[in-house]
């Protein structure tokens, strides 16, 4: 199910590969198993444990040491990916860690808050916060894992900007943010069924009932 939207894609892989005939010894064999593989084995396993390729390294600096000293096991992981710092934290303590991050570590601005979906993982969602510090001219990414139906503490009390961003994450992924002042859909109509950015949401079988009633057509596709 999770890979269904991808099925429309594999034809374009060999198409894109045709002009690249020179490096074909490497690329064509790679593309061939992808073609029949769409039916039987998933061509694109959304397996969350990614193989490190030297771009991701564990992050051990003073800031991480301060976090570890303050929050202990709530700091699940600290990595650096392409020179960008990422802190993986326990979702239950997200709001508390966020407050510390703003006041003590001086990450005053929430640039972005969004989510990711890894359906095969035990806790399928990642809530990702991209932060910026004016004082240090640095960015930091906070990530928290959440299972389906698990409530994530809202950070609206820390950064007002999170209000609409959390509404969007709710709209697109169905993640519940506890303590949000007005958690409702923002981009989609209020009565829309399903959460489009989940990997198991099929774009060909979207909310047809809503489309039929409001647009007067059989399908939006």
């Amino acid at each position: 199910m999770a890979d269904e939207p991808k099925e429309s894609q594999p034809p374009s892989v060999p198409m894109g590969e045709k002009p690249a005939s020179k490096p074909s010894p490497v690329s064509t064999p790679a593309a061939k198993p992808a073609d029949p593989g769409t039916q039987a084995t998933p061509a694109k396993p959304p397996a969350p444990p990614k193989p490190p390729v030297g771009l991701q390294t564990p992050l051990n600096n003073e800031m991480v040491a301060r976090y570890r000293a303050k929050f202990g096991t709530a700091i699940v992981d600290a990595i650096e990916d392409r020179k960008q710092a990422i802190l993986v934290v326990e979702s239950g303590r997200l709001a508390e860690i966020a407050l510390y991050t703003r006041d003590e570590e001086k990450f005053e601005m929430l640039s972005d808050l969004t989510a990711l979906d890894w359906p095969k993982r035990e806790k399928r969602f990642d809530v990702a916060l991209n932060l910026y510090s004016f004082a240090k001219n640095e960015r930091l990414r906070l990530k928290a894992q959440a299972a389906e139906g698990e409530e994530v503490p809202s950070v609206v009390g820390v950064w007002v900007a999170a209000n609409w961003l959390e509404r969007e994450a709710f709209d697109m992924f169905g993640i519940i943010f506890s303590g949000h002042p007005d958690l409702k859909r923002i981009l989609l109509p209020d009565e829309w069924q399903g959460y489009p950015l989940r990997k198991d949401y099929d774009i060909l079988q979207q909310d047809t009932a809503w489309v039929r009633e409001n647009l007067g057509i059989e399908s939006g596709q």
Binding site: P46, V53, R82, Q84, F134
Partner: protein, 355 residues
């Protein structure tokens, strides 16, 4: 108000709570232009998705393309060659001027000054002509490619840019003659929609709106990308954070963009315009957040790769969406007529708000 109100620059619906003529509360209803761009991205290859980003902020497509291409380059760990970076910078700065001109024209029109619109569109036309000569398109340009550029600068590119920049200096003076000391303009914009620096940061507001509140922050200086580290320019800031300050900041930004263009055409380095990237892009697994200073503010791309030809997730951090959130803070206590001025001064594009 809306969604088909002419001053909303698209389809924005605002629910206003009034006490007589005074606004005591507001709620923005958005999503009318939602096309699911982030979902589309997951079903396209990296290159196939590039033209889609032009349809978000459709009055500054070049900037959107720059942010996307640079984000994917970071993900691939490649760098565009110096020549490509300089040409990118020139086109992006021209696009910034074009975007600000469109803002100035329509913002003045909303407030009742009809003339600036015609002046602004006259100059914007010249920029669109340069873009058209460069890549064949005027609005949704898809000017850049992942890894560099597809097209070499055309023969008279430098001359065209130089001529535009030379003319433009006196043209800004024309706009300012019409507006800067105009008593009606001052009356309609001074003290309207004040946003303090603390509020602006708390709301995540970026771009000219943040700078008008007195925060001297511009990603082109703070975290330089493209070729911005090579050029000298100032970051204009305001003091009170009202609509008039935002007007002054954007006017000065156009001047600075003009200076960047003039410095850049002086010396466009020779060399290739495309880095070595394969025909099939398979970025190593991992994730990257890359932000640029788009005309409206911080335009960020958060791209996650799982090592296949399609992005696992592309999150777009739209400046308009986040700046619009501060609208409620700015509009409270003002008259209904000021709502129009405040929507105009945030400079939103609904294609980007709704994606």
């Amino acid at each position: 108000m809306g969604p088909q109100h002419p001053s909303t620059h698209g389809v924005l619906r605002v629910k206003l709570k009034l006490d007589g003529e005074r606004v005591i509360g507001s709620e923005c209803v958005i999503g009318y232009l939602h096309r699911g761009v982030e979902k589309i991205a997951e079903n396209r290859t990296y290159q196939q998705f590039a033209p889609y980003v032009d349809r978000m902020d459709y009055v500054a497509a070049v900037s959107n393309g720059l942010g996307y291409c640079e984000a994917i380059e970071k993900l691939l760990v490649v760098e565009a060659p110096p020549r490509a970076r300089v040409i990118r910078t020139i086109l992006t700065e021209l696009q910034r001027i074009a975007s600000h001109l469109l803002w100035l024209g329509t913002h003045a029109l909303d407030i009742g000054a009809l003339t600036p619109l015609f002046y602004c569109f006259r100059e914007r036309e010249e920029i669109l002509k340069i873009l058209e000569k460069y890549c064949g398109a005027r609005l949704t340009t898809h000017a850049f490619r992942i890894g560099g550029l597809q097209y070499e600068a055309y023969d008279t590119f430098e001359k065209d840019v130089e001529r535009f920049c030379k003319d433009f200096e006196s043209r800004i003076v024309e706009y300012e003659t019409l507006l800067t000391n105009n008593r009606i303009w001052i009356g309609r914009t001074k003290g309207v929609g004040i946003l303090t620096a603390e509020d602006a940061i708390a709301y995540g507001v970026t771009g000219p709106v943040l700078r008008a509140s007195g925060v001297k922050w511009d990603i082109r200086k703070a975290m330089p990308y493209a070729a911005y580290d090579q050029y000298k320019f100032e970051i204009p800031v305001g003091t009170t954070g009202d609509t008039y300050d935002r007007y002054l900041v954007r006017m000065e930004e156009m001047r600075q963009s003009r200076l960047i263009c003039l410095q850049a055409i002086e010396n466009i380095p020779p060399g290739p315009i495309m880095a070595k990237v394969g025909k099939v892009l398979k970025p190593p697994p991992g994730e990257v957040y890359h932000a640029i200073e788009a005309p409206k503010g911080e335009l960020g791309y958060y791209v996650v790769s799982d090592g296949t030809v399609q992005p696992y997730r592309v999150r777009i951090r739209p400046p308009s969406f986040i700046n619009l959130q501060a609208f409620d803070r700015m509009v409270r206590g003002h008259l209904v007529a000021d709502v129009v001025a405040i929507i105009g001064t945030i400079d939103i594009v609904l294609g980007e708000v709704d994606r």
